[in-house]
Structure formats: structure tokens, C-alpha cells
């Protein structure tokens, strides 16, 4: 899987501040096609309308959490291979393992920095960090 900065990226978080931060970091990394959603339900609807090359999602959202979004995505034949990064304050080992088992590609714990986001994206797309 090659990293294509023109691919659409979907950022999902219920905090506007976090969406703004991740959006800016992605822009700095060269991504130009960035969409936003404020919870899992909205994100899933958007994913069914448009092909995203990467999803970066928070976990703790209502009504649909990031974990539930991940499970919906992995269960959907058309969406199942979409790279998915969880960016969350949840760091409990059991939860990380649950996300890994559900098929998350990488996991970033908040607070994070630009280098961490870049390294996790690079790791998914096989780019040297």
C-alpha cells in the first residue's frame, strides 16, 4: 500500500479542537483531501458515500464510538480494507488489545505530537519514518 497524499482522509472526533489539530497536522504532512465527522455514525455514512484512503478516529464518541465504527468498517466488504488509526485517550491494555483484534492498523494515545502521527501513518503505508 503506497502513501498517496492526494487520497481522501477522514478525521473523526467529537472535539472540534482535536479535528482542527489533526487536520492541520495532515495538511503539514502534505494531505490535501481531508474530511471531518463528529461521531461514528456520521463517519460511516460518509464512508459509504466516498472512498477514503485512511480513517483517523477517536474512540469515545456518542452515539457510535470509534470502536463500533471500526467493527462496522471491518464487517463491510467494501470498506473492510480501509486503513484505520485510533487516536484516543484510552490506553488500558485490554482496550488496546480489543481494538487490535477488531482490526485497527495503528493506535495513538493522546496527547500526541506530529512526529507520532507521521510515524504511524508511515508505518501503515510502509514508508520509512
Amino acid at each position: 500500500m503506497a502513501l498517496d497524499p492526494s487520497m481522501p482522509v477522514l478525521v473523526v472526533d467529537d472535539y472540534k479542537t482535536m479535528i482542527r489539530i489533526i487536520h492541520n497536522l495532515l495538511k503539514q504532512l502534505g494531505f490535501v483531501n481531508i474530511d471531518e465527522a463528529s461521531d461514528g455514525t456520521a463517519a460511516l455514512n460518509m464512508m459509504r458515500e466516498k472512498d477514503y484512503g485512511l480513517v483517523i478516529s477517536d474512540w469515545n464518541m456518542e452515539p457510535m464510538t470509534g470502536y463500533e465504527l471500526l467493527r462496522e468498517v471491518r464487517a463491510d466488504d467494501r470498506l473492510s480494507r480501509t486503513p484505520f488509526i485510533m487516536v484516543t485517550a484510552e490506553s488500558k491494555t485490554d482496550n488496546v488489545i480489543a481494538a487490535k483484534k477488531a482490526g485497527v492498523n495503528n493506535y495513538i494515545v493522546k496527547p500526541f505530537n506530529a512526529a507520532t502521527l507521521k510515524s504511524k501513518i508511515d508505518a501503515i503505508f510502509g514508508e520509512p519514518s
Binding site: 469515545n60 494515545v109 493522546k110
Partner: protein, 155 residues
Amino acid sequence: MSQVGGTKAKRKPSSTRRKTARGGGDQSVTAEIMLLLNTLRELAAIRSTAEDAAARILDSAEGLLALADKEEAEKAEEAILSIMTACGFHDLVGQRVTKITETLDCVIASRLTGEKPERTKASGMRGSEIALEGPSHNSAAQDQARIDALFAEKN
């Protein structure tokens, strides 16, 4: 000066009063005390998170100031990104405050009904059957290193 709070100091701690009144509510009192201690811990964490974020914002702003006359665009960009990511404290502070609010709601409800406090919504199960804990009390770097190690493991 010594009068400030003087009357209150003579009052028995509320937990003692409850224990006396019930004569057998030790478990309930202990549970309440644990909830309150956790609340204090959350407040300390809020203070620490906000302090850390403020320090990072100031460090970066000072860095920008120092670079203002120089043509070191790359370093300036790095500093600006650091300012942006530091602003993520808003999310973490919000999650911790939510936990505190829900805990206090739980304590209040318990005092009103006289029943044992139940798990707060924040630490309870969601629709996905995963118990969420919110931000941890470890450093993010420690947590990230542990998570990276988990992801490096095969299954």
C-alpha cells in the same frame, strides 16, 4: 482570621455522621470515600495536564519569538505544530472534567437515596461492551511505548 471556618471545624466529618446514623454502613462509607479520593486524583491530573500544556505553548511561543528575525522557516513550522498539538489539552481536560462531574453526580445520588454508589457512566460499559476509562495517569510517552509494543507482537 481564626473564626473563618471555626464553626465548620466543630462539625463531625460527613462520613462519620453517616456511619453513626446508619450504624452499619461501613461498606457504603468506604465506597464513597474511594469515589471522593478518585475525584481528588482527577483534579490533580487536570491541574497537571493544564500546566504541562501551558508550558508547551509558552515554550513554543518563545521559540517562535526567538526565530522571528531569522529565516529558519522549518524550525518555526515545528514550533507552530507543537503549539497546535499542545492545544489538545482541551480534549483531555474535558474528558477528565466529565469523569469528575459524573462521579459527583453518583455521590450525590447515593447520598440522596442512601444506596451504595454505582459505577459512573464514564467507567461503565458502552454499547460495544468495552469499558472506557478515559485518560490514564501515566505519561503519554509511557503509554504509547507500551501500546507500540503490543502492536509489535503478532496476535
